[in-house]
């Protein structure tokens, strides 16, 4: 298994390189530079030019590119243009938040999505099916910033169950968990539609399979037939969707992070882009692309766990 992981990581290197190069080119094509952020809007053109030189932005694109790649090869993400802080520090500071939000949202998405999907499949075309399908769609229809505010209005301001500012009491584990609830529900809702849908169609297929009939012929209660026999066979497509979503969540978390005032990779990427903090942006893209690669590896390893027919060496 270790060999499998190492092999996959090595295979990911060209992907990471391509991602980096694309980002490098794209951010330099976007108009604007970080000098306004650093010098403010009253600075003269001359002092901005001077700063550009100092930041190495005056060099040719190609030599900037080689500098950057050289740095990355040494495992150095460099320093932020805007704050001059080591990028690794910024990343490490927000990474736990991103990881906990991603995992919690996956849990929310599956805990809501799977039962909905199973219910919908069992009661195909019945009212429960319609409810499950429409409810699950609501999650994808409302932009995360709208649903987020609605959640805050009800659960934080009216009921006072959860804090509005997620990162306020980060040191206290219980508070931190409490602060995680709403954001993960908000982000998880996005996934519900897909999980419900995959579960429903998988279950519809599975419930029609011969082995389900076999299970019923054993006189097993319906619950057991559904969950032990049919559902176990739907895990593969569910894992596929969840794995794909790991990547989607990292990027889409930004809205949730903004609305719930959480730090996170997504928010940092958007800020870096808005400030034209090229080095920070590049560093963050390395991290997020790498996270997606890891997510893919985890997905593949999970296949081996849920389906005995898949072999992972």
């Amino acid at each position: 298994m270790l060999r499998f992981v190492i092999k996959r990581l090595l295979l990911a290197i060209p992907t990471l390189w391509a991602v980096l190069t694309t980002v490098f080119v794209l951010v330099r094509v976007v108009p604007g530079d970080p000098t306004i952020i650093i010098l403010g809007d009253q600075a003269s053109e001359a002092s901005r030019m001077e700063l550009r030189q100092r930041l190495g932005l005056g060099k040719s694109i190609l030599s900037q590119y080689f500098d950057f790649m050289g740095q990355i090869l040494h495992g150095d993400l460099g320093r932020s243009l805007a704050t001059n802080r080591p990028i690794v520090d910024d990343v490490l500071a927000v990474l736990p938040y991103t990881i906990e939000l991603t995992i919690a949202s996956l849990i929310v998405g599956t805990v809501i999505g799977i039962p909905l999907g199973v219910l919908a499949a069992e009661r195909r075309d019945g009212p429960a099916d319609w409810f499950a399908r429409i409810f699950s769609l609501a999650g994808v229809s409302f932009p995360a910033f709208v649903s987020g505010i609605l959640l805050l209005m009800v659960f934080s301001v009216q009921l006072r169950w959860f804090p509005v500012i997620s990162s306020a009491n980060a040191a206290d584990p219980l508070e931190r968990l409490r602060a995680l609830v709403l954001p993960s529900v908000n982000l998880g809702l996005l996934m519900v539609a897909y999980v419900t849908r995959v579960t429903r169609s998988g279950m519809l297929k599975a419930l029609g399979e011969d082995y389900v009939r076999t299970a019923r012929s054993k006189g097993l209660p319906y619950r057991i037939v559904v969950w032990r026999h049919a559902f176990r066979n739907v895990l593969v497509p569910i894992v596929t969707v969840v794995g794909l979503y790991l990547g989607v969540l990292i990027g889409n978390a930004v809205l949730t992070e903004i609305v719930f005032n959480r730090p996170g990779i997504g928010k940092l990427i958007v800020t870096a882009l808005n400030q034209r903090d090229y080095t920070l942006l590049q560093g963050l893209m390395v991290v997020s692309a790498f996270a997606i690669v890891v997510a893919n590896i985890l997905t593949d390893l999970t296949y081996g766990l849920v389906d005995p027919r898949v072999k992972t060496q």
Binding site: G32, G40, Q42, S44, S47, T83, S167, D172, I258
Partner: protein, 512 residues
């Protein structure tokens, strides 16, 4: 498992205990992140209040005011000026300590700081100090400043505002680029932690020369989404919040119990700069048509009377030298259309406008767009993100530029940065003259060296009249600053103005 619960309970109790012992002020700001907290570079709205908590100047704006008339002693206890007004001697307070272990503040730090502020490489405000001939330390508690020519507002240059903030020489030299996020000053609060995109935490300076602040800690949070910032304030997680410059916001929060909404000066002047270097705006009649097509009161009406007033001139109201009764163009659609026809555009004109996606600015511009449309002037937006906007308007790519700004409250700064030909975008000396305006150079330059206050005012007035007549720009409205606080918070002064765009948290500020 059980032990876990106990451990958690212990942590909870501990944090509860410390929370009680500490007075923490939570402040919510409308920004994704801090810009700069190096005082000589800090120009954005979210930076300035923080700078005012960390630093002192030789003199300071009285807390709660935005007016030059209120300047009072700060690090300097007294000052003398020579008869010709060119030489100033400042006597410093002794025994003032910088934050942390950075030692005592001396004349050397003051000299270093002012020189740093005057240097374009280290400061955003260097042009303001062009008039300074020399700065020197006479002895550890005396500083001498010699000017090239007398100016009326020298105290403003050494106030706790922009370049006048005094930094620790040792710290600035030792920290280098890191000084940007770990600035060291003498103010009531010092920075302990900066989390990008999240918050800035400051603790009280126990050695503050006016006494140890009653607030122990300030958590300054960056909450860019308006709605979530408002909700955090409503839920009591914030004590002070940056308000939306919007009538409905003020009304809603004024009604909320336990809340005080304060609408304060200075105002930011929103202006539409017309690029005279671009067709069809090179024709003065087209520019005049635009001026006639704009309905200033209506724009202020959209924004709401509580926070916005129609502009009075091309310089914000209340600045030293502002012509409060400048003759602006009235709203007259028929005249606008006639002028367009006269200029050879009977079917109207289209103007390409590079516009930021920043909602507040985009929203204001939508009103302008709609007004101009009635006169047959079609503003075609090319919406770009905020940095692209800043970059492209400085590359002279936009036909009209919507820009909103507050500056040091002397007409000279505003006039020079926005209307002097040296500041025309594209030049090495460029600042923010997007109009290519050059009609008032003589007056602006003359006023800058005019020793007589009345004559100086007259020159500035003429400059404003010329700029308005040439329609380099159409001033739109002025937007006041809006802040709200819980009644539990007492600033320790009456909050009427905020030269730092936000409340100054002083040693006297309390929270119940």
């Amino acid at each position: 498992m059980k032990r876990h619960i106990f451990a958690t309970a212990a942590i909870l109790l501990a944090s509860f205990a410390t929370a009680r012992a500490e007075t923490v002020l939570n402040i919510g700001m409308a920004a994704a992140d801090i810009g700069q907290i190096d005082p000589h570079r800090a120009t954005t709205t979210q930076d300035k209040p923080v700078v005012s908590w960390i630093f002192n100047g030789l003199v300071r704006f009285k807390p709660g005011s935005a007016s030059l008339e209120t300047l009072e002693p700060d690090l300097a206890t007294s000052w003398d000026k020579s008869a010709d007004g060119k030489t100033w001697i400042f006597h410093l307070r002794s025994g003032v300590k910088f934050h942390g272990d950075w030692g005592e503040m001396t004349a050397e730090d003051v000299v270093y700081s002012l020189k740093r502020a005057a240097d374009g490489k280290t400061s955003a405000f260097a042009p303001d100090y062009a008039v300074v001939e020399s700065i020197e330390a006479v002895d550890p508690v005396t500083v001498k400043i010699v000017l090239k020519k007398p100016i009326p507002a020298l105290l403003g240059l050494v106030a706790n505002y922009h370049g006048g903030n005094i930094v620790s020489k040792k710290a600035a030299e030792a920290l280098g680029a890191d000084f940007r996020t770990k600035p060291v000053g003498t103010g009531p609060f010092q920075i302990v932690e900066y989390k990008s995109n999240e918050s800035l935490t400051l603790i009280s300076n126990p050695n503050y020369f006016r006494g140890k602040p009653k607030i122990d800690k300030i958590v300054y949070r960056f909450i860019p989404a308006d709605a979530s910032r408002d909700l955090a304030f409503s839920s009591g997680e914030l004590d002070i919040v940056y308000g939306r410059q919007d009538q409905r916001w003020v009304e809603r929060f004024s009604k909320e119990p336990g809340t005080v909404v304060e609408v304060v000066k200075p105002s930011e002047l929103a202006t539409l700069y017309l690029n005279e270097g671009m067709k069809p705006l090179d024709d003065k009649r087209v520019r005049q048509a635009i001026a006639y097509a704009i309905d200033r009161p209506q724009i202020a009406g959209f924004k709401g009377a509580a926070t916005a007033v129609p502009a009075v001139s091309v310089v914000p109201t209340g600045y030293l030298g502002t012509d409060e009764k400048a003759k602006l163009f009235p709203n007259d659609i028929a005249k606008a259309k006639a002028l367009l026809t006269e200029a050879g555009y009977p079917n109207g004109v289209a103007i390409k406008v590079i516009q930021t996606s920043l909602p507040t600015m985009l929203n204001s511009m939508q009103i302008v767009q709609s007004q101009l449309k009635k006169a047959g002037i079609d503003l075609q937006f090319e919406v770009v993100d905020h940095q692209s906007f800043h970059s492209q308007i400085r590359k002279d790519l936009s036909g009209a530029v919507y820009y909103s700004a507050a500056r040091f409250p002397v007409a000279d700064v505003y006039l020079r940065q926005f209307f002097h030909s040296d500041s025309i975008v594209g030049k090495p000396t460029a600042v923010t003259n997007f109009s290519h305006c050059a009609v008032a150079d003589a007056e602006i330059d003359a006023a800058a060296i005019e020793g007589d206050a009345a004559k100086q005012k007259e020159l500035w007035k003429t400059a404003q009249a010329k700029i308005i007549e040439d329609v380099c720009a159409v001033p739109l409205f002025e937007q006041l600053q809006v802040w709200a606080r819980k009644t539990t918070v007492d600033y320790g002064y009456t909050f009427e103005g905020a030269i730092h765009l936000g409340p100054v948290i002083t040693e006297a500020t309390t929270k119940k």
